[in-house]
Every structure is written in C-alpha cells, then in structure tokens.
Symmetry: C2
Subunit: 314 residues, 2 copies
Amino acid sequence: MNLHQFRFVQEAVRRDLNLTETAKALFTSQPGVSKAILELEEELGVDIFARHGKRLKRVTEPGQQVLKAIEIIMREVTNLKRIGEQFSKQDAGTLSIATTHSQARYFLPGPVARLRQRFPKVQVVLHQGMPEQVARMLLDDVAEIGLATEALASHDELVTLPCYEWQHVMVVPAGHPLAAIERPTLEQLAAEPLVLYHATMTGRTRIDQAFARARLKPNVALEAIDADVIKTYVRIGMGVGIVAELAMRDDPPGGDLAWRPLGHLFGSNVARVAFKRGAYLRHFVHAFAEQLSDRLSPALIQRAMSGAGTDYSL
Amino acid sequence: MNLHQFRFVQEAVRRDLNLTETAKALFTSQPGVSKAILELEEELGVDIFARHGKRLKRVTEPGQQVLKAIEIIMREVTNLKRIGEQFSKQDAGTLSIATTHSQARYFLPGPVARLRQRFPKVQVVLHQGMPEQVARMLLDDVAEIGLATEALASHDELVTLPCYEWQHVMVVPAGHPLAAIERPTLEQLAAEPLVLYHATMTGRTRIDQAFARARLKPNVALEAIDADVIKTYVRIGMGVGIVAELAMRDDPPGGDLAWRPLGHLFGSNVARVAFKRGAYLRHFVHAFAEQLSDRLSPALIQRAMSGAGTDYSL
DNA sequence: TATCCTTACGGAATTCGTAAGCATG
DNA sequence: CATGCTTACGAATTCCGTAAGGATA
C-alpha cells in the first residue's frame, strides 16, 4: 500500500475510469498506473473497479468504501503540505480562490487587495467558473476557498458559510420608460424583453421562481454569463437587464444606464464561502475569510469545519 | 512523503520519542527510522521534533499539526485493510476486544458465543486490562472494540455508547451476620474489613464517594483486580467483598457465599462500549455490538461515530 | 560511560518506463 | 481497427541494513 496507488485510484475515478487519461494527468506511464491499481486491489483482496474484459466499467461496492478512505487520506496529505507551508514560509504561499465572474469582478477586488497588503508574499490565483464548477474545484483541491451564491450547499463534502446578502437590480438605458419607475412590478418586467444571467448562475433560480409564482412567463431575450455582458446588451437596447446590485456599484447615477433595486420582487440572496470539509486552513486563508465578512472569524470557521452539516445563517 | 514515514513518526511519539525503541517495535533498523523522519521533515519544510543535540526532546508546534494529519491517515489505512477483509473474506476475520476482567469473565461469554455461532469464521481475541489500558488499546489499534465501566469517556478520540446498567453487591461467607440483613447500610459496611476492586476499576469511585459523603472511612482490607480474587478472599474470611452483581450470577443461593444488592448505597453504574472515532466497522463488529445490547444498532453506532462528542444515554 | 541519534556506504529489492500482447466497441 | 488495459522485461533508482561517528546525560 502506498500513496501513489491512492493517487492513481483517485485520479482514475475523476477521469471516468480512463487509465490512459489518468496517466497523462499525473505525468507517468499508463502501464505504471494500471499495475499500481492492480497491486492495490491484490493487497486489499477486493476489486475496486469492475472490468469488462480489460476495460474499467464502474466502481465496485467495496471500491466505494475504499474510495472514501482514499479521499480522506489524500485530503490529509494535502493538509500536510499546507501545514509545512504554514510554518516554514511564514505567511507566504499561494491562495487559490474559485469563484464566479460577479464575485471576481465586483466583490473580490477589495478583499484581495487588503489581503495582499497584510500578506505581501501571498500569491493569489483566481479560478472562474459556474457555481457547479466552483464546487468541483474545491472538491478536486484546485482551489482552497470558494465563493458563489448557489449550488455550493448541495455537496456535503463542502462546508459553506454565509458571507453577505445582496439583491437583484434592474438595469435599463438611461432614457428607458421603466427608468422612471421606483418599484417596478413583475408584470412590468414580464412585458419587456429581459437580459438575464445564465440559468446556473448567481441567484437566477430566484427570478424564475418569482415569475412562476405570479404565473407570468418572462420574455427572456438573452442569457449571459456575467453582468458586464448583460450591461453591454442592455446598452444596445436588447432589453431590460437584471443583475446583482454589486455589479452597478461603479456606474454613477446619471450615466448611460439607470438601475432600480428589485429586492421587493426577488427577495435577497446570500453569497456563501465554501471550503472542503476537513481542509487545513493556513493563517492567511483565515485572514482572507475575515476580509470577506467580519462574521467569518477563525473560531466560527473552525466550528463549522468540524461540525457535520450545521448551517450558520446570517 | 510515504506511509512508512508516517508510521515511524506515529510510533516514535507513542514510544516517547525514542527512535531505538521505535525501530524495534516496527522490526526495522534504527538508522532507517531516523532517516525516514528526517526526510519527511525535510520535505515538509518543518521540524516535527525539537532536538537537543542529537536527542529528540519534544514535538514542535507544527509537529502537533502534522501528527493530527498522520493519525487520520494511519486510521484510514487501517480502515482500508478492514474494508478489504470485510469484502474479501466475507464474514471472516479477527475481532479484537479490549476489556476488563469482569466483563471478559462474566458478561462477554454469552455475546462472544452468539457471535461465533452466527459468524463461525470470526476469530475473537480478548485483551484484558485496566479501563485506562482498554482506552489505550483502542487508540493504538490493538483492539477494535472496548468494553469497560469507567475512564473510556475521557478521550475524545473515542466514541462511547452505553451498554448495560449494573449495581454493586455485597458478598459474605454463608454464615456471616451481614448475610441475614436485606439492605445493609454504609455504617454496617464501614464496620467490617472490606475486600474491594482496585481503585482504577469498575465503578470503584462510586464506592469511595458514597463513603466519603457519609463521612465514613471504610476499612479496606484488600484491593484486588477481579471478582474471582475478591470472592476467594471473602471465602477465607478476610472480610466483606463488594463486587459487580454479574460476578455472582453463577453462584447459586445456598452456596458457600451469600450476597445482597447494594444499589441503594452506591447507585448504578453503566458499562460502556467504545470505538476509535472514525474507525471502519465490519459487519460482524456491528453484529457483536448488537449482542452486547439491543440498543446498539448499526444505525445508532454510525450516528455516534460521525457526530462529534454527542452522548447517547441509556 | 552508556545511551541514542545521525552519517556513510553497499548490496538487494523495487520502481518505472518502453515495447509487445490482447480485448472491447 | 482504434482505443485502452494488461503483461513482459530491463535499466535506474530507491530502499534498507550494517558499520562508524558524534552528542548528551
């Protein structure tokens, strides 16, 4: 039994049981991977993978159990490295953040800058993706801390904590009739072509639900992945945009876009931070979390990481 | 980084940082151990052990963290082996039980026999010791399941669950004056020379507390490690014995010993089973637990093992 | 001086890559 | 027949034991 075997098995599962891919991903030879896995199965006395002839088909039942143990082991190996960094290179290292466009573009600049100010030797790496990809990046140890509004809560391998609350706003070109209305209604919005976030994104489900409850069918002209794109299409008159309020922060009133809060229609959303359960967090990761929200003290995070599935609401 | 290094570090800590002992315990050469640990420290970039010259003195602060991670890794390695056994040798394997004399002698014969009946291929190994040693055997993976009345609850690396309740009984030679008394009092007991369990054992603290509360100083003639020894000394007239009620189960009324319950004086005790937190339990371990008490269903145990420190009272 | 950790070194076992074999879709 | 896992084999590396060195109590 050795760590290489564990790594191979884990990667094989992540690569859909394709050992050739696995070998490439780990920069080693394919026969080496094959042999290592066979030897592990031999030693444990159980098949981890069910094979059709020579092709790996699925994970066996004992394989599921084995995988759980391997996940934990590899997690702790990662932790060991982090512990090493934490104590050797005091306050230096790399912080990988997985997040959505909105957060990266509008929310994170402040916290990241303040982190760099306190820890000048910390390198920050931003990974961007859909909320579901953010979760995956955390699970695969690509990123250490994740930030997104949805979908993070649905993995119990992840610990999520509320970070801040926000609401949607309507964006229209400055001269648009709706710009004059203080509190637009769902009916008014449904009458216009809409430019929205993509369905998997930032609080989009809230919007859909609100329309559905009112038995209205919104006229979705365009779905886009980020607020900048949405604003661009709003400017050229494609329709009425709905974005996160943060995204309008830098647009001065009296500019070419007008905006109105829509909290009364879609309620408020909660942006959440997420960590992989059981991860060792270095000082500067805790410091960064505190930049994201005062509430996220090391003590609170520690409690959330050790407890199983408790929710810490705002 | 490899599993050998982890094992060496773990064992070194268990052997009070004596690498020579460590090497012996693991059947390998002392320089090998030394080198492996040095290389791990090199790779992680931190000292795990603080050295005075060439002698290991204590675990450093990063070392503490490293140890935690290593503990988890080695635990999961053990689990992997168990998973292998569980699925390959269906319902065969070895069940190591750590327990005190009283349990081994009077309580376990039934459950063990029933286990063997259901799982004829399971080998049972009994490890006997003081309650504190029972705990240590669990922590060191010498035993998989522990059974004792005291001291198990004080380690948070262990999960303990109530198993059954019992009370103390007084034992005297058949003709003894106290044999005629239905409910002996503390004063009556304090007037006699007593033959008791050793101080670390099975509910002994209860006895001491009861006398202390009544401001009585018991006359302890002899302390012994198990009920059989106590009964022997009672037979030869050394004094009045106090043992667990289970220990008298096989003595017929009208034999050479008479006994009376003492629950009214010393209250009741709870025997508890214990597992190492995070351990993988094979089918037959769960089956055995159910033999110990109906309440100990696999589901309950699973819940207790995953939850942090919750107490499941009877 | 006795104990105990580190360094040095060499033979043995393991590892890991390339090449070939063979089964599936 | 293209993809993809397993087997075979040999070179390179790592492992691990003995012997020697050096530091502490």
